[in-house]
């Protein structure tokens, strides 16, 4: 096959980026972010939504830890309300058996999933449970998760005041519920004990269910990379590739 005319030449560089570079700030002059700086948007949630307190605590954590913008990535999804609230009252995977919603007028026939059991089974090495009505505990769990080396999972109960008010009253002492913490003698490295805690019915327990230190995926990958780099590090990339091409002559 003869070579084709290749139009990529003109595209090999991204060209003028229209960005104005500025010099980096010396490390000492950097200040940690304030809550005001980090809150880019005010979410349009319902007044009283449990998620507000979780978000506020997250900002507090960033402030407390003196973190910089360049060092944080925040990926937001949804919290567990036992109902799909944002889309206005549909059955969610954690809705209890018999729960009536717009998608199920007769009441749910599915047993709810147990997020804590699933997280343990999926191999998270830090699995904890908390609830938005206990801010100090949420913060405590977030800090512990942040300090953990590995994938951390926190189930945070967050009430949907609009479509499932009272879903977590059983875990709220102000509403006549209880806030039982994980017993002091619980062995956080015992996976079976963690499952046992996860199986408890409302209010269940709050705190760290499971925490083990294992080489992380990142560490395992880094080991593969460093072993390979030792063999090739002195070579520019094109010469590493050239070795492969030379074998295919």
């Amino acid at each position: 096959m003869t070579s084709l005319a290749l139009p990529f030449e003109s595209l090999t560089r991204t060209g003028n980026l229209n960005l104005v570079p500025v010099p980096p700030l010396p490390e000492g002059e950097r200040k940690g972010l304030t809550k005001k700086e980090v809150a880019a948007d005010h979410p349009t949630w319902c007044p009283g939504c449990g998620d507000f307190s979780v978000l506020a605590l997250y900002f507090k954590l960033i402030e407390k830890r003196k973190m910089h913008h360049e060092k944080i990535t925040t990926v937001a999804g949804v919290m567990d309300n036992n109902v799909y609230g944002l889309t206005k009252n549909q059955t969610s995977p954690t809705s209890p058996l018999g729960y009536k919603s717009k998608t199920d007028a007769w009441g749910s026939g599915d047993r709810p999933i147990n997020p804590m059991k699933q997280a343990i089974a999926a191999g998270a090495t830090f699995v904890a449970r908390t609830t938005h009505t206990n801010p100090n505990h949420v913060l405590q769990m977030m800090e512990a998760a942040m300090d953990h080396d590995g994938f951390s999972f926190i189930e945070c109960l967050s009430e949907c005041v609009e479509f499932y008010p009272g879903a977590f009253d059983g875990a709220n002492p102000r509403k006549g519920g209880q806030f039982p913490e994980v017993p002091k003698d619980h062995d956080v490295t015992d996976e079976y004990a963690a499952y046992k805690l996860a199986e408890e019915l409302m209010p269940g327990k709050f705190g760290i269910f499971y925490k083990v230190n294992r080489p992380t995926k990142n560490a395992n990958e880094a080991k593969i990379v460093s072993t390979n780099r030792e063999k090739f590090a002195s070579l520019p990339d094109w010469q590493i590739l050239q070795k492969n091409f030379d074998r295919m002559k």
Binding site: M1, L19, P21, D237
Partner: protein
Amino acid sequence: MSDTSMAAPAQAGGTPLVTHISEAVIRIAGNSQDGIQAIGGFLARLAGRSEQEVMTFMTIPSTISGGPSIFQVRIGTGEVLSAGDEADMLLCFYQHSYEDHIKSIKLGGIVLYDSDHVTPNPEWQENYRHVGVAISGLTVEAIGGTGRDKGKNIYAMGLLAKIYDLDVPKITKLIQERFSGKDTSIVTNALTCFNAGYSHSLENLLKTYQFKASEGKKPTPGSRPQVVMNGNEALTYGLIAAGVRFGAGYPITPWSDIMELLRKELPKYGGSFIQCEDEIASVSMAIGASWGGRVAVTGSSGPGISLKTEAIGWAVMAEIPLVVVDVQRGGPSTGMPTNVEQSDLNIACFGGHGDSPRVVIAPASVEDCFYTAIEAVNIARKFSTPVIILTDQGIASRIEAFEMPDLEKICQDITPDFTPVADHKPYDLSAADGITRHLAPGTRVASGKYPVVTGLEHDELGHPTGSPKLHVQMTAKRRNKLKKLGADLPTPKTIGPNEGQILLVGWGSSLGPITEAVGRGRSVGDAISGLHIKNLNPLPNGLEEIFQGFRHVFVVELNDEGFYGYGQLGQLLRARYCDPKIRGINKSDGLTWKVKEILDRARALADAVQNGKA
């Protein structure tokens, strides 16, 4: 074997005649575990090292082990554009290989068969020259073991080397390289096998062939050597040359080779490839890595691409650079996983929800796979867009020889640039042609205004908005930047004159057969030309002017003719040009085009149109 010319007279004592040939098409048929791909690979690599052109074609069963398999190799000293319509020789190991493939060779062609397993059919013996060698038995005689052990492929390779007067020192070196690192006895056995085959008396053949010295393509002093590889390898190395250092995927034939090779190679460059739990996780991970500042790759084949389409829509919305490889196979669903089809054009161009413009490029050859990968990465970066590389099983598995790329010049460094900036609007509506660039997170923005990334419609900083006005403006921005790309693309050149009766339009792997069909047609007086479109979405400008020069525009595609008589590219071209002379030549047998097939169909369709029957 074309251009047959008798060069040496018959010599006494049954020494074979030597016939000079310019090309040979050899089909090797056996079972998938016989190592026939290895023979084909040796022949292809040898041709590459001998400055010959080569192209291969293979079929493999989709079962784990066993099942008939073939490897066809076409070697020539001129330009080789396809794997060849009819074979000059059939090398067959079993009765079924003999019976199933006898019709694939030319009348008068040679059947070289393993006489331990094949009983020739007297009827066929009249039309084809039969040469039986007890390949299985003689292999055992040479190296011991049983007939079920490996080795007969290498023995057969020895026979072929003798018949085609191949370069024995070069083959010896290839065999040594292939088995290097293994037990030395394996290399010794392989060489013993090869020599036994090579020394086998072929008196009953009484003829050997010699490739003529290269005519059109003599190696010029200082020219680069040839490399031999398949399309999936070329694509993988292209991605690495382009600077891609992260990928994520899920195994599916025929994409798996690419992820296997990336997984093996990337750590050498400090990169990594992750096999995810599924297709959705892998596209999401690649998007995450791309968002992180360095274009990442994911890929799949048809069914997997369907699973990725939602996430591709997210990348379109968030304007994240991303490369998605689709190695097409026969579909839908599990379909014909080891066969070729060009039926993913629609899903590549339009498979997504909402108005989600993206770039689709289809490489035309193995060499082109290498350069297309680089082009895809650069388009993704420049336009902050997902780019789909639409290759196919035909290119993925076929082996070609091409000029060694100048890697020092080509390899790119696309390490993210973290130079702090004064301000940054990722979706700046005042940017020329709507082209904005994705800024790696971690870059300090002095104004303190950091962007947000979301799948929701957004303002210039990425903050979610439900504003109808912004949705209009942002939809136009995402469209306009790729319209600009389309306007900058070069208009493809016609193969043959730019006017005539028939224009054969093709894409992807059909470039070779179409080019050959044009050559063959023109040599017998057909006013036929070809056009190959590499950039399928957006299309380049200038095609309409080319179409005007022809009476018929036939779009040659390996997909179904659909409800209305034209395939997926045909439909796209009709939608854009509203030209009723655009018609389809389609097939869905899972095999690559034969030159004869294209020519016969084009002539018949032109006749039918002229007679008002189409």
